[in-house]
């Protein structure tokens, strides 16, 4: 992360971001500054620009929190997506071979 007077800049590598994370990054920082997203090659460049230099430090902390959330979410996203799909499917249309599908999922997840 690079920080100037009124800008925080972070580069995410392509394999470590998805659309949910970008939405998360938008969260809570709306009226204080502008979030600029830019794809450069295989990287996603995220720049946070505040028009008030005095609040950049607060914003940086908030952004760091979002990043820590982001890291947690990255880990979860890989494990959870299939389980989430199974739960919703099972809720509305019981799955005949649930045991088989869970075994397969469990063996690949741990």
């Amino acid at each position: 992360m690079k920080k100037n007077n009124n800008t925080v800049e972070i580069v995410f590598h392509r394999e470590t971001y998805d659309i949910c994370d970008i939405q998360l990054a938008h969260h809570n920082i709306s009226d204080k500054c502008m979030l600029l997203l830019d794809i450069k090659g295989d990287d996603l460049l995220v720049r946070l620009v505040c028009n008030d230099e005095l609040i950049i430090n607060d914003i940086s902390k908030e952004f760091l929190y979002l990043l820590s959330q982001y890291r947690v979410r990255r880990i979860l996203a890989n494990e959870n997506r299939l389980i989430r799909d199974l739960i919703v499917e099972q809720a509305f249309k019981p799955i005949a071979n649930l045991e088989e599908r869970v075994n397969e999922l469990y063996n690949t997840s741990i």
Partner: protein, 483 residues
């Protein structure tokens, strides 16, 4: 041996990490616990490991994972139970006429003599025929206005006709009259009693507060008439069949304790702290009566604290919105609140029929039409079939764009399991029914309220938890202690 992590959302609440699973189970973790958990480094013998396992945040065997998925799926289905019932709340705008002119009215009512805005009994019968095509076995018909009782004969005709239909179709039926209680009720009371009709009215607070905005068209206050009709109804009818709503204006923000005191004094067992809606007169008068959402949140916080104090003193008194959210947080049950569902309850849980038979998914959509935008018009009972109305592209569009699970920001929100979407308000504010959470006061308000409630839950205060549970199970604290 490691473990599998089940889906959850997370955020900081009360300086801790709040984790909420898909079925609404929640747990608070500190930094170390959270990072140990998500990095698969939790001690299998620790208390937190067992807590997470018992609440289906993790599974440590294939069998355990299958059970966790099955149990979470069952609870998820229960939470979405409102979908199975489909539409049970049917609101009928009996007339747009009103004898009052309240500055915050979200309806923009017509003059008292404008009888062209009355629903005829013929239109009402067609609506009832429509209603009984709904798959729901429990039908609630709510008569709205304007002031609904100004068109009393149509209410009478509708009730009698709908009761006959309910016997034919073997469905349960319930009626609610929404009224300002300032028309003549002496000739109506027997019918209300005989047909076990519920009364929903409006009370803003003490006489001075109530009369500030709730006035007749000549500017005179309505409190005295309201009160005499309230006493009349209470004398003749079941007291539990009469409830009141308040609307928070800039005038009432700093008088909320007085408002609550008035509700207690008049024997109501609770209050719904309702923010103003940006429609009708409320929109055109917003500079005078409106306020920033932060002000409403401050008021809510103060009011909830005061209400909890009253309960601690032995006065059973509920804040209804808090009770609704607590029921979602602490129990596995679905709650039937149309305005906070995912997908939205608009058109699915509730629907509104305008005086001329036009069908809208929600009252706000009808108000929008009165403001000149008929985007949400689903059809008309005189020209369209039930299938045409309820299979309309409008309703599909609403359902497709109001599932929090796929909405930006909502899908990651820690409160998603308990919250809902308001597509009509989104459309009004942003031109897009999915809306933009970053600028949404609806989102800001609900998140703040969830934060306040979870701070109470995290406090572990036994007295407050007892009060919360007494609200959820609708049982007064004293009788609760006797069990």
């Amino acid at each position: 041996m490691s473990y599998t992590i089940l889906p959850f959302n997370v955020d900081i609440v009360n300086n801790k990490h709040l984790l909420v699973g898909m079925a609404g189970d929640y747990i608070f973790l500190d930094d170390l616990q959270l990072h140990s958990f998500v990095n698969h480094r939790l001690d299998k013998n620790s208390d937190i490991y067992f807590d997470l396992k018992s609440k289906n945040f993790l599974a440590d065997s294939s069998d355990n994972l299958r059970n966790a998925i099955d149990m979470t799926a069952t609870r998820y289905r229960a939470k979405k139970g409102f979908l199975k019932e489909f539409t049970n709340l049917h609101m009928m705008v009996i007339t747009v006429r009103c004898n009052q002119e309240c500055k915050y009215c979200q309806v923009s009512c017509a003059g008292e003599d404008a009888k062209q805005y009355d629903m005829t009994s013929q239109v009402a019968y067609k609506i009832v025929d429509f209603i009984f095509q709904s798959p729901s076995n429990n039908i609630k018909i709510e008569f709205q206005g304007g002031e609904s009782t100004l068109n009393w004969q149509t209410i009478v005709d509708t009730v009698i006709y709908a009761e006959r239909k309910s016997k034919i179709f073997n469905k349960n039926i319930e009626f609610v009259i929404c009224t300002n209680l300032t028309t003549n009720f002496t000739d109506k009371i027997d019918f209300i009693k005989d047909h076990n009709i519920v009364i929903s009215t409006s009370l803003d607070g003490s006489k001075v507060v109530h009369n500030h905005y709730r006035t007749y068209k000549n500017g005179a206050g309505t409190y005295d008439t309201f009160l005499s009709n309230l006493y009349l109804l209470r004398e003749k009818c079941n007291i539990n069949n009469i409830s009141a709503l308040m609307t928070t204006t800039s005038y009432t923000l700093d008088k909320i304790k007085l408002v609550i005191d008035e509700y207690v004094k008049l024997g109501f067992d609770g209050i719904f702290l309702r923010a103003i809606n940006p429609y009708g007169f409320a929109d055109s008068n917003k500079t005078e009566i409106g306020y920033k959402v932060e002000k409403f949140i401050d008021m809510y916080k103060e009011a909830l604290q005061y209400i909890l104090e009253l309960n601690k003193q032995g006065i059973y008194f509920v804040e209804y919105y808090t009770r609704l959210l607590l029921t979602r947080i602490l129990t596995p049950f679905a709650t039937g609140f149309v305005d906070l569902q995912s997908p939205s309850g608009a058109g699915i849980s509730g629907v509104i029929y305008d005086y001329n038979g036009d069908v809208y998914p929600a009252d706000e959509a009808r108000m929008l039409a009165r403001m000149g935008d008929r985007h949400f018009l689903m059809g008309n009972v005189s020209v369209d079939t039930y299938a045409q109305v309820f299979h309309s592209s409008i309703l599909k569009d609403i359902a497709n764009n109001s599932c929090l699970e796929i909405m930006p920001i909502c899908s990651n929100c820690v409160f998603m399991s308990y919250c809902g979407a308001d597509p009509i308000r989104n459309y009004l504010e942003t031109g897009d029914i999915m809306g933009d959470r970053i600028v949404s006061d609806f989102c800001k308000k609900n998140k703040a309220i969830f934060n306040i409630i979870f701070s109470y839950l995290d406090s572990g205060d036994k007295a407050i938890m007892d009060i919360f549970w007494s609200w959820i199970i609708h049982r007064k604290l004293n009788s609760n202690e006797n069990h």
